[in-house]
């Protein structure tokens, strides 16, 4: 069965037809060509497809596109670009926290969401927060360091605003 859905993706309103069983992941990758969101397992175990759905980090492979009517979705493409990176992206580059890069977009999305509500996380907090995003290359240490570093940057930025 086909559904027409209207939602906002990275701030842009999109109206498309989707099948009942089309996942948000398929919709983003195949219909919108937002391929920064990766498929690693298609069963919610690896976190490579993490996006923000109404501000919450979700595995896009476990969400049906048809359920996203009126929703606001943010993908890695909505987080930052050359010259205007998010502090999490900047920190990941600074800490050499990317290797193959396949988990990186999902990892960034999880970290961005987590730091919104947790401005002063401990090392253990970050390790726990990222534990749903698998990475086979880095051993996580530099990613955790990057997220802790980004937390500091965000605190400084928010502090200077207030």
């Amino acid at each position: 069965m086909r559904h027409e859905i209207t939602l906002r993706v990275n701030g842009v309103e999109e109206t498309h037809h989707v099948e009942s069983n089309t996942t948000l992941l398929e919709f983003l990758r195949d219909t919108l060509d937002l391929t920064g969101t990766k498929e690693g397992c298609n069963e919610g175990e690896c976190g490579a497809c993490t996006v923000l759905l109404d501000g919450q980090a979700v595995n896009a492979c476990l969400v049906l596109a048809a359920e996203c009517e009126d929703a606001s979705v943010t993908t890695i493409e909505g987080i930052g670009r050359a010259g205007a990176l998010h502090p999490v992206q900047e920190a990941i580059l600074r800490h050499h926290a990317v290797q193959c890069g396949f988990c990186t977009p999902g990892m960034v999305m999880t970290a961005v969401e987590y730091l919104e509500d947790h401005p002063r996380p401990s090392d253990d907090d970050v390790r726990e927060a990222l534990s749903g995003n698998l990475c086979r290359c880095t051993g996580y240490r530099q990613i955790v360091d990057a997220v802790l570093d980004a937390a500091g940057t965000l605190r400084a930025r928010d502090g200077s605003r207030s």
Partner: protein, 790 residues
């Protein structure tokens, strides 16, 4: 900008990856793409009586189908024992039997269900010992008829896919004279690479007969070579393109899904066909790491010097030889690990079974043999009442010492003794409880332990494996450096940029590494395996840069009227320092035009190659060779652990690694390699095992839910990496490989730390909490029997 090599330059591909701009094979869009579904064997061993896809072709939207009768072509890199699709026999659950391609994945799936295959089940064999039994079912009855490279030694009429014998000195005589003899058996199960990106390949065969393949692979030129050998095509008609690759670890070496995609594409009237595996198939239908059963016998003299060493490595190759047969060989000529054993009998034997296909996996057999060797060294030292650190230092290799193949290591081979010393000092391991834990009374809930292990590995590659690079300039003097080594995370593009920047006095920002090779356009490279790229491509990049420099100086010399040897490169210009004059590079890179209009030179460009010198084949009967491999990288790791004696759970408090890498090219990248290797090593050390039902032959934990890999919550509380820099003679600025070595010693170090903590030894990977509790219980019972409380 000299001084770039050795600094933590950020990854040159980092921006692409953090923004999601980096495209991987599954991200590529192809108009009119067909989706493939592979029909795979549900049985571990069976005769294939018939295959018919007639019904499948009736499904609306199905455009092509293929089976073994259509493409009875052999694949296989060293031993041609595998076909694109099964022909007369299937040898594992998941063996491809046929495939269909359709407009939609749904139609392809439906059609695949309608492929009729008739099987006659045959008795399977899953275990190496059973596979070596005289009456074992033969996985490859036609083994004697397969094409094979001369340095792989399959035994017709058996399940032995390869056997390398190492014979050095007089083992029997030395064993007879030994003061003490120790024998132990250690086992390693099959595990999987678990790259975050599953395998995917897209192929198109156009109406002019040319084939184009876009694939997640480590070795585009070897993919091309093997596809051409398989389908009998000229190399120039096959184009292989590799975009970003989401992890490989050896699992994307050689060909995997590409032949299936090409076979379907050849029947699809020019439409592109995508073949991919889901996460479940990734576990059993691509490739895995081989299992190992290792039996070691060590004879020592009164001073603790090893005089005789026997190593029997039995490898569970699974259904096909693939890279596995070369793992068997590499494990043979490295059978003694980081030690000098004067009298050696080594047998490394690969055995076919009806399991998933064993292949290359980060370390290429070395983590598996070190699991055995490094525990054996610990066992022997403890039994002798010696400090395991001192025992290692007494017996380890080093300059002037002889390997198991009789190679005398030179001064540029690296220093494992320094690595041992460094991790032992850092962890207080030296001199610690040399006699082993002598606890009495009730065990506390938390018990700490420290253990270490060494590592060594050489590149396992043909003696003539080469790399090459191309260099040219854009108009604005940005330098384009084309390479065909694949940067699937290890940092090759960044390292190559650093070497070029260093040699040309350019900032790294002026170097653009074209690192996603297209075999139609890119320079030749054998493969991205064997921790060989920094060394091989690095050397080629330095050579090309020297050529570019020479060309720039020749023009500038004429333009400025000064001798070329008075010129330097800095700040994106050629300078004549004595006169303070310079020419900006954009005025030179496409040729220099004089004020009167006449022009000299032309676009500056260079090509350069690297092939290692002086490598010699192994003696076929004894594996002796004065230089069997290009280089060795040595190292050591120590782990500090806390064991919960109630749950059996082990927490890793600290991991300390030290490797002699010749030259640290980029501290940030090498730290990432080290930490990544340690954690991947802890995965195989504590969690990972491909579980197979011997009833059905199926892998029962083929999902990330059931096959756990380490998460960020599982990593050591602290990880430290340090490096010794003994320059490699033929290394670029002295550098040698490190990518694989970082996961080699970890499981053995963990086992040794567990022994240090509790006096229990686990000989079969992985070290799970259940096994810890089981061994603790067994030890309690043993100690109760001897009156010693634990």
């Amino acid at each position: 900008m000299s001084g770039v090599v050795g600094t933590p330059v950020p990854r040159v591909d980092g921006l692409d990856k953090v923004t999601g701009a980096a495209r991987y094979a599954a991200d590529l869009k192809f108009p009119r793409l067909l989706h493939a579904e592979v029909v795979r064997s549900p049985l571990p061993h069976a005769r294939v009586l018939s295959v018919s896809y007639a019904r499948a072709l009736q499904v609306p939207g199905v455009r092509a189908a293929a089976s073994g009768a259509d493409f009875p072509f052999h694949t296989g890199i060293y031993l041609k024992d595998q076909t694109v699709f099964a022909t007369d026999r299937v040898r594992m659950v998941g063996d491809p039997v046929a495939a269909v391609a359709a407009d939609t994945p749904e139609a392809a799936r439906e059609a695949a269900q309608l492929v009729d295959v008739e099987y006659e089940p045959l008795p399977p064999v899953f275990d190496v010992l059973a596979g070596m039994a005289p009456d074992a079912p033969l996985v490859h009855p036609e083994l004697g008829r397969y094409e094979c490279v001369p340095w792989i030694n399959p035994r017709a009429g058996t399940n032995v896919a390869n056997h390398l014998k190492v014979r050095k000195g007089d083992y029997d005589g030395a064993l007879a004279s030994a003061a003490h003899v120790f024998e132990n058996t250690f086992e390693v199960p099959q595990v999987q690479h678990v790259p975050m990106e599953n395998h995917v390949s897209v192929a198109r065969a156009d109406l002019a007969g040319r084939v184009e393949v876009h694939t997640s692979a480590q070795s585009p030129f070897t993919v091309r070579h093997l596809l051409c050998a398989c389908f009998k095509l000229p190399h120039s008609d096959v184009r292989v393109v590799v975009p970003n690759v989401g992890g490989g670890f050896g699992g994307k070496a050689g060909i995997n899904l590409e032949p299936i995609a090409v076979a379907l594409a050849m029947r699809a009237n020019g439409r592109p066909v995508r073949v991919s595996v889901d996460r479940s198939e990734e576990f059993y239908a691509t490739v895995v790491r081989q299992g190992l059963r290792a039996t070691l016998t060590t004879g020592v003299d009164r001073n603790g010097k090893v005089v005789a060493q026997r190593m029997e490595y039995l490898w569970n190759c699974g259904a096909y030889g693939g890279y596995g047969v070369n793992v068997v060989r590499a494990a043979g000529y490295t059978c003694g690990g980081a030690y000098e054993f004067p009298n050696v009998r080594g047998d490394s034997i690969g055995v076919y079974t009806n399991r998933p296909v064993g292949s290359a996996y980060r370390g290429f057999g070395m983590q598996e043999i070190h699991w055995a060797l490094e525990q054996q060294m610990d066992c022997v030292a403890r039994e002798l009442g010696m400090d395991p650190v001192e025992f290692r230092l007494l017996n380890c290799l080093g300059p002037g010492k002889k390997t198991v193949t009789g190679q005398v290591l030179d001064a540029g081979s690296g220093r494992v003794d320094l690595c041992i010393g460094r991790v032992a000092e850092a962890t207080g391991l030296r001199g610690r409880r040399a006699e082993g834990p002598g606890r009495t009374g009730a065990l506390p809930k938390s018990v700490k332990g420290v253990g270490m292990a060494c590592a060594v590995k050489a590149p396992a590659m043909p003696n003539n494996a080469s790399s090459s690079v191309h260099m040219k300039f854009c108009d604005d003097a940005d330098l384009e450096l084309a390479i065909s080594g694949i940067d699937y995370g290890q940092g090759l593009m960044t390292v190559a940029a650093q070497f070029a920047a260093e040699a040309l006095g350019l900032p790294v920002s002026k170097i653009r590494v074209r690192g996603q090779p297209d075999t139609n356009l890119s320079p030749y490279d054998w493969q991205t395996v064997a921790s060989r790229q920094t060394w091989a491509t690095g050397n080629a990049a330095l050579k090309a840069a020297a050529d570019v420099r020479r060309q720039l100086f020749a023009m500038a010399s004429e333009a400025l009227g000064v001798p070329p040897d008075e010129l330097t490169l800095r700040d994106v210009a050629v300078w004549h320092e004595p006169s303070g004059r310079s020419i900006a590079l954009p005025l030179l890179v496409l040729g220099y035009q004089f004020p009167d209009g006449h022009t000299i030179g032309g676009p500056v460009a260079a090509a350069a190659t690297f092939v290692p010198e002086g490598l010699l084949f192994l003696d076929p009967d004894t594996a002796q060779s004065a230089k069997p491999v290009a280089k060795w990288t040595f190292g050591a790791q120590a782990l500090e652990i806390t064991v919960d004696t109630e749950t059996g759970r082990i927490a890793i408090d600290r991991a300390v690694a030290c490797y002699d890498v010749g030259k640290v090219v980029n501290p940030g990248l090498i730290e990432g390699q080290t930490f990544g290797g340690i954690v991947q090593g802890l995965g195989t050390g504590m969690m990972e095992e491909l579980m197979l039902s011997t009833q059905t032959g199926r892998v029962v934990n083929a999902s990330l839910m059931d096959y756990k890999i380490p998460t960020s919550a599982d990593i050591p509380t602290r990880m430290e990496a340090s490096f010794v820099e003994t320059p490699q003679k033929d290394g670029p600025m002295g550098a040698r490989g490190i990518g694989e070595h970082t996961m080699i010693p970890t499981p053995a170090a963990l086992a040794n730390a567990l022994y240090d903590a509790l006096g229990i030894r686990i000989r079969d990977l992985p070290i799970t909490a259940e096994k810890v509790l089981r061994e603790l219980k067994a030890k309690r019972e043993r100690d109760a029997g001897t009156g010693k409380a634990v």
